[in-house]
Subunit: 496 residues, 2 copies
């Protein structure tokens, strides 16, 4: 809630005090968890559970508690506090330096954060018997391993560069899609977004939509807060951010109420979480079926907004009948592929390249093979090699993402694991419930949401990511399903 | 922040979980504070401070820490938790029952809360060597005593009933003041409120204005959040709530930065706090000087708002030149006195009667002399005796205030102590800085705020309420100054 508040409503002058508040809460929580007595409680609870043949959920709950405590006791409290404060300070520094394109200015802070992250990683690696990077990854992706990521990313690398070439060439031949002319008033965008959210099953009695610099999903299952940012020239950007965050929100809201406030009642991990958001954004909302429903609804939403004066002519935003509101035009805009510099603006075909670059760089930094001073050059070289483009400055290069500056290393790969998870879950859901596509063509997802509630959301953390996926889809994470999804949509223009 | 969020932005469905979150945080904070080790630290810090001749602020900081811990250790943690949960549940129950005018429905919850409050009061009274009521009062008004309250309230009772009679008679003879016709669009009200807040010294880089069912001031000195509620038919109500909360906000913002996060850096207590809000609302903003500035500014604020259709005629809100926008009319509206049923809507002349009634009733409940089942009758009888009016139902009687249902007993007297404090501080400030009135006539309070910063805000909790007032004004709390203020304004129509 404090994080949501900081991003959505806090006045700037509250930043320093908020950083202290959050660090203090983290420290107190950490101290409670590492108390030796808690370790004894867990040992004795485990003995009782084994002796009494406790149900699987109860045992999984103990697993999760032990995992939390394993992470907590591996790191001395003073190191946790130093990392927390350094990361808060670096994040604030980064905001100013990013805008000024001044990597050198934030380098000392980043170096300090990385040093503390490496100390934490080393402590955890020793305690868990893993590599340093895997110890960090485990925070976001429990049970995840760089060996599996390497294998999956290697498979992506076999077909993605060629696919990007083909799609870019195909779309170049088709010409640029027509876009309706704005401005699109924020209030009309918000009303449209709320209508779409309701169709996707978002419950406003237990959640909110707000505005922040970067879209995110926060809160708790009973009170899920999502944010977006609005662009008066392009309503599609804010709306697609909304449906992405709605996917996260539906997962949180669908977590098992019976295990509320228990570790086993939490979301499984970041790849499953991102799988939910990308399932809604990429699989559902960028599909031809959904966009066919959306195109007239969006047109009507902005036709109803007050007339705007523009160049002396009073008219309604983008109502000219130039085909820009057609389903075909909307679909081409929503599936436009381009080799670009900014990850958060990237399409689903080039996105994995951005992630693979960051994964390689953060592994090298954690392993000590890449000094942060060399990050800008490594970024430029890496992006050129992997995607064929090169940022002209650091603002559009290694300063663009908050993660490292906020102390988060080991998070990036979960985005692309999530994209693969989304494709695989959607594929299984559609085979199980063929009505899904017809419903999507009406702007709703009742059958899909019911399937997700049953096979994903309600499972909480009772299964490993691997077992969850195998039980829901019949197989472990498979890059081939993601590949077939991209080929169908981007090369063969199939409806889904 | 969680409380602000709950009142200002939380979706209804988050209420139960929020109650649990706040109870959990309170319990954790309580457990940390009562730890035996903390007691040893305090004893040893006190010895060191005495031996080393520590500065007064450091000693006062230890006093406050000891006071916090004295309150905490006096009550078993399980009792704190039971009270916290029962009060949350009762508060939710009360919201529905108040609207349904169903006192019997909330009685079981209230009885449970009162029982727990009485247990807490008994435990604290034994530990502190005070009466049960004074032990509760000390939470809100450190060092306060019912003996002093009895003395001051007895003095008020000697002149207030006669004064109310005289003022009501005088105002009846003058006839009802003309009020400008709404509607007053909320956005225009908000812009006017923000302009007034800026003139009063509110710093929007460190604070916000929002909307909630009941106006309040929350947050921390670096991020002060105030709320109001807007009435489209009467802009004065929302605006006066804003300036009241702005008074609270200025106090928080002016607390000593050097002692931030230390107990001695906190506000002194509720009577000083209410003294700040009532100083701004009653002494400054309902004065003829301020209203003379406000009248044309407000008129302009609503003249600039978009025209409204009303009864087929398009016109601007209340722009008819019927004298309703004159300073004289605004002043008569802002100083209207009436014997009414609702405390939060009462004027400053009848307000003390509402407080004295609640003080008598809550003392009787805490002492066990009044069973909560008899509260509705005691309320009706008491209000008739003290103010000459009787509520037709409990919704406008003993169900109107949240305090008891939310578990707060011992809070009410601070409102009227605050009104007297406000009059006394303003009297002293004007004598010290005669420019104050001329500035107020320009909608600003630079000299007054500087005086308050120096003599009140920057003192934090380094002085007792008594010493703070004596150092700032030369004398202890004196009902005579409040009396003279009321007589000047309401009987003699003097400018202030």
């Amino acid at each position: 809630m404090l994080q949501w508040d900081m991003a959505a409503v806090m006045p700037d002058g509250g930043a320093a005090a908020r950083g202290e508040q959050m660090a203090e809460l983290r420290e107190v929580a950490h101290e409670l968890l590492v108390d030796e007595e808690v370790g004894e409680w867990l040992r004795s609870a485990r003995e009782d559970a084994v002796r009494d043949g406790a149900e699987a959920w109860h045992l999984a709950d103990l697993d999760e508690m032990e995992r939390d405590r394993r992470h907590a006791v591996a790191v001395p409290p003073a190191l946790v506090a130093r990392h927390s404060r350094a990361a808060s300070a670096c994040e604030i520094e980064w905001r100013g330096r990013r805008d000024a394109n001044d990597f050198a200015g934030v380098l000392p802070s980043l170096r300090e954060v990385l040093g503390l992250v490496r100390e934490i990683a080393a402590a955890k690696a020793e305690a868990f018997g893993t590599t340093a990077y895997d110890a960090l990854l485990d925070e976001y992706e429990p049970g995840g391993s760089s060996a599996e990521i390497d294998r999956l990313f290697a498979e992506l690398s076999t077909f993605l560069p060629g696919l990007v070439d083909q799609v870019v060439e195909k779309q170049r031949a088709e010409g640029a899609p027509a876009a309706p002319q704005g401005p699109f008033p924020v209030e009309a965008q918000r009303r449209l977004a709320e209508r779409v959210m309701r169709g996707l099953g978002f419950d406003f009695a237990h959640g909110r939509l707000d505005t922040s610099h970067h879209p995110f999903c926060g809160g708790i299952p009973e009170d899920v807060r999502i944010t977006t940012r609005w662009n008066e020239d392009d309503f599609l950007r804010g709306l697609l951010a909304v449906v992405h965050e709605t996917g996260h929100a539906l997962y949180e809201r669908g977590l098992p109420a019976a295990w509320r406030r228990h570790p086993v009642g939490r979301a499984r991990g970041m790849s499953v979480h991102e799988g939910q958001s990308l399932l809604v954004e990429m699989q559902v909302c960028r599909s031809a079926a959904f966009l066919g429903w959306l195109a007239p609804v969006a047109r009507e939403a902005f036709a109803a907004s007050p007339p705007r004066k523009s160049g002396g002519v009073v008219g309604r935003a983008g109502m000219a009948d130039d085909g820009s509101w057609s389903t075909a035009a909307l679909r081409r805009r929503a599936t436009r592929v381009a080799r670009t510099l900014i990850r958060v603006d990237a399409d689903e075909v080039t996105y994995p390249a951005h992630v693979i670059l960051r994964y390689r760089l953060e592994r090298a930094m954690v392993d000590g093979a890449l000094d942060p001073a060399d990050l800008p050059g490594a970024w430029r070289d890496g992006l050129r090699e992997i995607l064929g483009v090169e940022p002209p400055d650091d603002r559009t290069g290694c300063l663009q993402d908050i993660h490292w500056y906020a102390g988060a290393f080991g998070y990036f790969p979960t985005y692309t694991m999530g994209a693969m998870t989304a494709a695989q879950l959607f594929d299984a859901a559609r085979r199980a419930a063929p009505r899904i596509e017809a419903e999507i063509a009406e702007g709703r997802v009742d059958s899909l949401l019911a399937w997700l509630r049953e096979h994903v959301h309600s499972k909480g953390s009772s299964l490993s990511t691997h077992d969850l996926l195998v039980q829901a889809t019949g197989r472990p994470l498979d890059a081939g399903i993601f590949r077939r999804h991209l080929e169908r949509r981007y090369l063969r223009d199939e409806a889904a």
